[in-house]
Symmetry: C2
Subunit: 407 residues, 2 copies
């Protein structure tokens, strides 16, 4: 009998009614013949409410105390879900992250799971119980409570699935799976039956917010089969695994749009070794993630150096670089928030040449101007004006045969 | 440098503003030269809100899961209070009950503390930190979270004070100390400088709801000096200890009124051995606490057997006894909710005869009829009609020289 790990996020357990429905869903899985371990997040807005109280008392609360505070959110969820299961006649037991054997390093608020000691979970499963585990938390080497950071519940689920040698790790979502594109942007998007880990990771970094990248990385490293599916619904979802065995020979698996990008340009910097490095070192020290970097062709020993960052980091970028423009030898600093990143992702690109050409052609045919380009082995991303990003995604979706009814 | 343990209940930490003021209070204590350990309850109505959600999901939630749920309330309090202390520049650290070494038996929802392992608390104190401990909770022998039942935070405080050999265990309240009577009933009541453990225990069982009896018992057994005082205020409170060294030679320390009593009478039961025993065995099995028991003088081999129970237990008493009236040989069953218990308590009674006489005389002079009487070594309690209980208390308060300005 295989172990199924299921993870339900905050919106799946937003209130008492949701908890009752999740309990039904969990019980169904057990009745289908599986040992079930469930990982849950805090209910709805609990975490934000707790953070609000903390900030009222202390604008800069200690990480350790924030962990002490925030870990209660999941503890409430596990107890209530277990009670809901009992009410439906199930044998179930709740466990905090520490009780479930989740061991972490000592970095409060963004701890990494160092080990899972699954003996107590196994013991409960052996007794026929459904085990409900608090996501997002674990125990440090000095027996302190640590949280894994936002989205850490996904990682808890995959780590438990690994330790329990689970057959599958399912993620209950408010969407039925991973789509070829965001249906709000591309109405003809369709659900994928399968996707490879690497494709999923590229889609996540391209702005498709389905699973935490850390969790997918973890699953990839340990070969855990993931399934993204509706929390409330019976259709199969999207499987995420190493080898994708779909009959369709898709070159491009998905199209993603990220409108939270902003473009920064250092104008006319000297085209000398070390200039870029100095600028990016400052940004790294300010904990700013730089996404795409493009350096234009040099003109008379000078070049424009453009890069993109998350829009919310723009004030920090401004603060970090504005004083250094002169030092870097640049003539100025330009910011453009009116941009978006459109990406196509597909493992099939590795073996197909000409994908980039097809992409640029499709965009050119639609009169869409490309401002920056970046590529990886299985992804091509372009920066375009924000107002044409949706149109770009739709054109690419059609051009690569992803529209519903095709393929 | 002596350790001070301070306990703050739910109303002292009702909201963020209260937490900030409690933090000031705690910091003052440290600055006065003490090592400080603080035990806090859940904020305001948190516990009731959690119970409400639980009951919505399951009318009969498992005790283990209730403990998992309810223990989060205190965990939120300790984290927030610690953050408030940090904001005021203090070194402080929060600890859950299990982290603070509170070990309990395995009885969920009403666990008893079996041991305190104070090493981690001592280590933090040695580093100059204020230690904030979650009350009401501990760890069972199988590493489960257990709660001590309502009011268990008082017991946590006393148990920690014992293990830490604390100089004093202070209880922050919304009253400035223990009074000779409830000032709402007896306006001339005054605060006591001191009271003995046994007097405190009798007052608690007589209806004066200041400290949990379990906590006072624990303090008595381990010689921990308690102090009841205002959470927000600077006057000294009331010391609770073994030897009361007050200059005033008080025979009666306090007067208490309990209006939550109800009287039950088995009418004309045969005056034979075993009849009372059978009735009370049934009540005990139904977990009904019987307080006073009085058997009237026998008349022709029959007697009326009266006893008092908590008013809220009356439906259970009715359900338990009504079917057995005939079996018990009684002619009927009578209930009277229109009663109250008025008690006088004082260790001085041991060495003073005539206290009961004085009491009855004072009540008689006021035209107050006594329905039942019960005595212990340091307490005399009477049952009177509810509407004269306040008057009875005021008369006794005056008669025994307790009125403010006297004694």
């Amino acid at each position: 009998m295989g172990v199924y790990v299921q993870k339900y996020g905050g919106s799946s357990v937003a209130d008492v009614a949701c908890l009752r429905r999740v309990a039904e869903r969990v019980l169904q899985t057990q009745r289908a013949g599986h040992d079930v371990v469930v990982v849950v997040s805090a209910m709805g807005d609990t975490t934000d409410e707790l953070i609000g109280m903390a900030r009222e008392l202390n604008p800069n609360p200690s990480d350790r105390e924030m962990d002490m505070l925030l870990s209660t959110g999941e503890q409430v969820s596990i107890a209530l879900l277990t009670m809901a299961l009992h009410a439906q006649g199930a044998e179930a037991v709740s466990m905090t992250g520490p009780q479930a054997g989740i061991r972490t390093d000592a970095v409060h608020r963004k701890a990494k799971i160092s080990a899972v000691e699954p003996e107590r979970v196994f013991a409960h499963l052996a007794q026929g119980r459904i085990v409900i585990v608090a996501g997002f938390q674990g125990l440090t080497p000095t027996a302190e409570i640590a949280t894994l950071g936002r989205g850490g519940s996904d990682t808890t689920a995959v780590a438990l699935a690994t330790a329990l040698k689970a057959e599958r790790c399912q993620f209950g979502k408010d969407v039925p799976g991973v789509f070829t594109a965001d249906p709000r942007i591309v109405p003809r998007a369709r659900k994928l039956a399968e996707i490879a880990y690497d494709e999923m990771l590229e889609l996540a970094s391209a702005g498709a917010d389905v699973l935490q990248s850390r969790a997918v990385e973890f699953a990839k490293n340990h070969g855990v089969v993931l399934e993204v599916r509706m929390t409330f619904g019976d259709e199969p979802g999207t499987l995420v695994r190493k080898e994708v065995t779909t009959m369709e020979d898709m070159i491009v698996r998905g199209v993603a749009v990220d409108t939270d990008e902003a473009k920064v340009t250092l104008l006319r910097v000297p085209d000398q070794p070390g200039v870029a490095a100095r600028g990016f070192k400052d940004l790294a020290q300010a904990h700013i993630n730089v996404d795409m970097i493009v350096q234009n062709v040099s003109e008379a020993g000078h070049t424009d150096l453009s890069f993109t960052v998350g829009e919310e980091d723009l004030p920090k970028v401004r603060a970090t670089l504005e004083g250094h423009v002169r030092e870097l030898g640049a003539q100025g600093l330009a910011f453009d928030e009116d941009v978006a990143k459109v990406s196509i992702v597909g493992a099939g690109m590795k073996s197909h040449s000409g994908v980039a050409f097809e992409m640029f052609e499709a965009l050119a045919a639609a009169g869409i101007n490309i401002e920056m380009i970046s590529t990886s082995e299985i992804k091509i991303a372009v920066i375009v004006k924000k107002n044409v990003a949706g149109e770009a995604a739709r054109r690419l979706h059609t051009a690569f045969g992803l529209d519903a009814g095709e393929g």
